[in-house]
Symmetry: C2
Subunit: 208 residues, 2 copies
C-alpha cells in the first residue's frame, strides 16, 4: 500500500570513479516506479562523469542548479578517495541533506557522509573489504561491521556495491509502501534481502 | 585460475529505453577485472543514450566505428519493442556475433537476438514477466521457461534484469576462470547464483 502518492526526486551524486552498481542497483529500484520517484544525476557540473568501470553517465544537473532532492544517494567507488577532502562536495552534501527526507549511501559513499560530519553520533555501515577506511574517515560514527544496511533516522547507509540494491528497495518500501517494493523486486527478478542484519560478507572480510 | 591472460573487449549495445540494471550488473562484473576485460558502450551513434529509468549513458562508439568486440551484451528494456524491427541494429548484431567469442543478452535483449535469427535452433531464455514476447519474436528458438540463464555454444541468454549479473559472472568464469569470478562476486558483496537452473521467478510468473 502506498502511503503517499507524491513523486519524490532522487538525486544521485556522481564523481569520477564512482562504482557502477552502487549507482545503478538503486537507480533500477527507484526508476521502476515513475509516479513515486524520478531519478536525477547530479555532479559538480552537468555532463558526462566516468565510472570506475569505464562507462560514462551524464549528470543532468550541476550542484548549483539541482532542484530540491527528496532522496539523496551517495555511491562509493575508487573515486571516493579523491572526494573525502573535497570541501565543495562535502558542504553541498550538508546543505542538501538538511532538506532531504532520506539520505542514503552505498559502499564507501558513507565515507563522504562521515567526512561531511553528517553521521556523527549515528549508527552507519560501509563496504566490508575496506571497512578500515570508514573508521578512518568518521571516528565519531558508530560503525556497524555486520549489516547489509543500517537505518538511523533519515540516514540509510548500506554495505558494499550490491547491498545498495537491497537498501534502495527498503527505502522504496519506506516511502512508497512494501507492496510497491515487492512488485519492483519481482519485476527485477531480484531476490531481495529484506533483513538488514543478514550480512554474509562481514565474515568473508573478517569483521564478524 | 585464469585460463588466458588476454584482455577481451566487452561491447554493450545501447538503445533508447534500455533497462539500467540489465546493463550495469554485467558492467560491474566485467568492469571490475581490468586486464581481463574492458567495457565499451556502443549505439547507433556515439553520444548519450537514455535508459528506461531516465539516466543517460554515453555510447563510446557508433556501430560503424566500434572496434572488434569479443563479448557482445544486449540488454533488454521497454525500448526493445522499438528495436525488434530495426534492421540496421539486427544486421549489425549478426555481423558482430559472427566475430564475437561470446554473445550475451539480458531480459528482453534475447528478443533482439531472436529477431536477428541468431538463436534459431538454439536453447535460450528471456525475462519471465513478458515471456510471451520472446516466443513471439523467435518461433524457431527453443525457449527455456525455467532458467536463470541458458548457455548454448557462444550464446548465453539470461532471464530478467538482475539475472544478467549472475550470467555475466558465469561468463567471467568461462573466460577468465572461476577464481576470478568468485573474487569479483565477493568484492561486489554479491551472493552469486551459480546454478543456471535455479530460477525462482519462473513460478512467480506462472511459467513453472
Amino acid at each position: 500500500m502506498a502511503e503517499e502518492l507524491i513523486e519524490r526526486t532522487v538525486g544521485v551524486v556522481l564523481y569520477p570513479g564512482f562504482e557502477s552498481l552502487d549507482v545503478y542497483g538503486p537507480v533500477e529500484a527507484f526508476g521502476c516506479v515513475p509516479g513515486f520517484f524520478r531519478v536525477l544525476m547530479v555532479a559538480d557540473k552537468a555532463g558526462p562523469v566516468v565510472s570506475a568501470q569505464g562507462p560514462r553517465t551524464v549528470a543532468d544537473h550541476g550542484f548549483a542548479d539541482a532542484p530540491k532532492l527528496d532522496v539523496l544517494l551517495v555511491p562509493g567507488g575508487i573515486g571516493t578517495n579523491d572526494q573525502v577532502g573535497n570541501r565543495t562536495l562535502l558542504d553541498w552534501l550538508v546543505a542538501r541533506a538538511r532538506d532531504a527526507e532520506v539520505v542514503t549511501s552505498v559502499c564507501s559513499g558513507s565515507w563522504l557522509l562521515a567526512a561531511a560530519g553528517l553521521l556523527d553520533g549515528r549508527r552507519a555501515t560501509s563496504n566490508k573489504m575496506f571497512f578500515a577506511g570508514a573508521r578512518e574517515h568518521g571516528n565519531g560514527v558508530d560503525w556497524v561491521p555486520k549489516a547489509r544496511w543500517v537505518e538511523d533516522g533519515k540516514f540509510v547507509t548500506s554495505s558494499g556495491v550490491s547491498a545498495g540494491t537491497d537498501m534502495a528497495l527498503h527505502v522504496v518500501a519506506r516511502l512508497a509502501g512494501r507492496d510497491v517494493a515487492d512488485n519492483v523486486a519481482r519485476a527485477m527478478e531480484y531476490t531481495w534481502e529484506t533483513d538488514p542484519e543478514n550480512d554474509p560478507f562481514a565474515s568473508v572480510w573478517g569483521l564478524a
